[in-house]
């Protein structure tokens, strides 16, 4: 089978490509050039060691040469800017906390890149995600957490449709990280010990606020920090600098620790309060995707995950309209954050998900 593998230069996608080639598939390695590296930091210096830098493209190329597969770099800078970066900036400006990786998966990898794969007569697009796809007797595709739950990446893949899943492959999804590294060593890939990428690739220094301000200078609109009673406790330099549950960097002195409870972009107000006030039991979500293609008819009991590093908690969810849903947790959850995804699981299976309003 001819398969395009999205190669980031990291160990997971490198091993994914190598395993497929080893199985005898006609593998085409493709790396996406997503942004101009020299613009990645405000200083104009090139960042090292993070996702999709020139070094990563070099790593991908070297791995492809080791495996003996063709490798191409496709330039998706304009699409990435349009779908991912501008959305990222807009969300922060609106006081929300976005997840660019999810948009990159659904709007670039399993859209633009999948289309390219089609044009090149490839039947599948493989990535190095820790996730598993199963096809049932009825021909329907199911998305499951990666076998190594500590590495599971299905939280970032909730928006995949049946059509996308029918063309997707996750060759390392059934493996643990140690096993992946062992394969890399066995296959003599030079990226065996390469650390996992941590930060958002286009903000290598991790300073999201500075990035947002560079892209949207108007974002730095000063406002006030208030408490639940509306009392002004201090000032701030822009709502994009905050996320729900944030404790550090509030610039307040207080006898008890204060956390961001709510962000009001229209009035440029940041509401803070005690940790107890952070708990919420309900949320609504937009742009909801039901992986099976069918929304449940009534309330459905699920385990809902509201952050990448959140233990999915019991909840019930129901569809409210075509692309929306409401969800109620059995017990209050800390820091339900607008802009993050809520993903619905049944056991290891992803039933769907959406963006928290």
């Amino acid at each position: 089978m001819r398969i395009v593998v999205a190669m980031s230069g990291g160990v997971d996608s490198s091993v994914a490509a190598a395993l497929l080639a080893e199985q005898g598939h006609d593998v085409i390695g493709v790396s996406m050039q997503l942004y101009d590296n020299s613009e990645a930091t405000g200083s104009g210096q090139r960042a090292f060691g993070t996702c999709c830098t020139i070094d990563d493209l070099y790593d991908a190329r070297r791995v492809a040469a080791t495996i003996g597969i063709p490798h191409y770099i496709v330039n998706f800078e304009s699409q990435f800017g349009e779908h991912v970066i501008s959305n990222f900036v807009r969300e922060y400006v609106h006081g929300r906390t976005p997840i660019p990786c999810s948009h990159c998966n659904s709007d670039l990898k399993f859209a633009e890149l999948l289309d390219r794969a089609t044009a090149y007569d490839a039947e599948q697009l493989a990535t190095g995600h820790y996730a598993r796809i199963e096809r049932d007797a009825a021909g329907r595709y199911h998305l499951h957490r990666g076998a190594d739950n500590s590495k599971d990446q299905t939280y970032f893949l909730f928006s995949l449709t049946q059509e996308q899943l029918s063309r997707a492959a996750f060759p390392v999804g059934h493996l643990g990280k140690q096993a992946v590294r062992a394969h890399a060593e066995r296959l003599k890939l030079h990226v065996t010990q390469k650390p996992d990428s941590q930060e958002i690739c286009f903000v290598p220094d991790g300073n999201y606020a500075a990035f947002v301000e560079r892209k949207a200078p108007d974002a730095a609109r000063p406002g006030t920090v208030i408490n639940n009673d509306g009392r002004v406790l201090g000032t701030h330099a822009g709502v994009h600098r905050f996320t729900i549950g944030q404790r550090k960097g509030l610039g307040l002195s207080s006898s008890e620790p204060l956390y961001v409870l709510e962000i009001k972009p229209d009035s440029a107000q940041v509401v803070v309060g005690s940790r107890d006030d952070l708990g919420r039991t309900s949320l609504t979500a937009s742009a909801v995707n039901w992986v099976s293609g069918d929304a449940p008819a009534d309330w459905l009991h699920v385990a809902a995950q509201i952050r990448h590093r959140h233990a999915a908690a019991p909840a019930k969810v129901r569809r409210t309209d075509e692309r929306r849903a409401e969800l109620e947790f059995d017990t209050p959850q800390t820091a339900i954050t607008p802009g993050q995804a809520v993903v619905f699981y049944e056991g290891d299976e992803v039933l769907g998900g959406g963006w928290i309003d």
Binding site: G68, P70, S78, Q79, E112, D115, R116, T118, A119, Y120
Partner: protein
């Protein structure tokens, strides 16, 4: 090694990027690598042997361009020759008070970026525009070149579209105004007859790997009497114009390549022109919404540049490579970016047309069967890319 699982037989149509070594060149280089290892500056037997090999190569390169061997400076390639000519002349002419440099808008990056570097150091730079056919206008050259101009650099044949520039006419204008004239002939040397006297230039750049010689070899021809201040300082090699121990085996290869090119030129030029015309006519006929970029003539015989509407060049290059066909978009140096070609931009082509431009550049090994294979493979790939819902086929 890269497994050729997809296509064991490949068609190479990217000779303006580089060419394979001529087998005779490879043999003579291998021999020289083993046997001619002396330092050409040494007085003893080993040095003399190396010097003799260099002299022979110098004679062959001179013969290719109608020049005297003593006027040939060996370098490590076209880019270095361009740098030597432009930086060297600029520094030599600085005391004259002339602080102006002129080039065409469609020069190779080796020239354009060298001029940019000099502009940062206070030189005034003017780029002569080209017309829609990709030819430098003499009238615009006349406007650009002034009594303040120190050096004019206009390429002989363009690397992306192959058009041949009116060098003799522009050189005459430069000389009227007292300026030196350099031409980058990297894409014409070995492909069409070159005669430095007839061109009327003062300096001319060539690169070995564009005519079946080795990479890392080049030459700058300097008319006797032209003075340069070499940007590389060191020993007295190449009459103090290019310091550093000569890469004798590579330059032997350059010499052999020049000799082979000179002998085969007439036959190859007409053979390649016929193949190129067949390819060009075939693509324009078989793929809808395609246009040739640049004048049909005068043009080097191996090159055609075609814009394919509603297709991004990058995705088409990959599709063709997977079908075993190697071509390029614009120049090899600009691949990896989606910046539209500065050449096509200078010709005033609409942005959309610059994004889907493909360069086919033919060479020694190409046959009619190769052309037929391209004409068979290309249309379905274009159709697939055009049918995409997203940008690979550009909306």
């Amino acid at each position: 090694m890269l497994r050729s699982v997809f296509h064991p037989m490949r068609v190479y149509l990217d000779h303006n990027a580089t060419t394979p070594l001529d087998p005779l060149v490879a043999d003579r280089m291998a021999q020289a690598m083993r046997d001619v290892w002396g330092n050409a500056s040494s007085i003893h037997h080993f040095g003399q042997q190396a010097k003799a090999a260099l002299d022979q190569a110098r004679g062959a390169v001179g013969a290719l361009i109608g020049a005297d061997a003593s006027e040939i400076v060996f370098t490590a390639g076209g880019t270095e020759s361009d740098n030597l000519a432009i930086r060297g002349a600029a520094e030599a002419l600085e005391p004259s008070g002339r602080k102006h440099l002129v080039a065409s808008a469609i020069e190779h990056e080796a020239v354009l970026n060298t001029l940019k570097a000099l502009a940062r150091r206070g030189w005034r730079v003017t780029l002569i525009p080209v017309d829609a056919s990709g030819v430098v206008s003499i009238d615009r050259a006349r406007e650009a070149i002034t009594a303040d101009t120190a050096l004019v650099s206009v390429m002989h044949a363009n690397n992306e579209i192959g058009t041949i520039q009116p060098i003799a006419e522009i050189a005459a204008v430069a000389h009227e105004r007292g300026a030196l004239f350099h031409t980058d002939a990297v894409q014409s040397a070995g492909k069409i007859p070159l005669d430095v006297g007839a061109l009327g230039v003062d300096m001319l750049t060539i690169a070995g790997h564009k005519f079946y010689g080795p990479k890392g070899t080049g030459a700058l021809w300097m008319k006797r009497g032209v003075r340069l201040v070499s940007p590389v300082t060191g020993g007295k090699q190449e009459r103090s114009r290019r310091a550093g121990t000569e890469n004798v085996p590579a330059l032997v290869g350059l010499g052999v390549a020049a000799e082979v090119a000179r002998q085969k030129m007439a036959g190859e030029a007409s053979r390649l022109a016929a193949l190129r015309d067949r390819l060009e006519a075939g693509v324009l006929a078989k793929v809808s919404n395609t246009e040739r970029n640049g004048a049909a003539s005068p043009r080097v015989p191996n090159t055609t540049n075609i814009s394919i509407d509603r297709v991004e060049a990058e995705s088409l290059l990959i599709g063709l490579d997977l079908a075993g066909i190697a071509v390029s978009s614009g120049s090899a140096c600009s691949s990896g970016t989606l910046e539209p070609s500065h050449v096509l931009k200078a010709m005033g082509l609409p942005h959309a047309r610059t994004l889907g431009s493909i360069r086919f550049s033919l060479g020694a090994a190409n046959t009619e069967a190769d052309i037929d294979r391209v004409l068979e493979a290309l249309p379905p790939i274009v159709e697939k890319l055009r049918s995409l819902t997203t940008v690979g086929g550009r909306k």
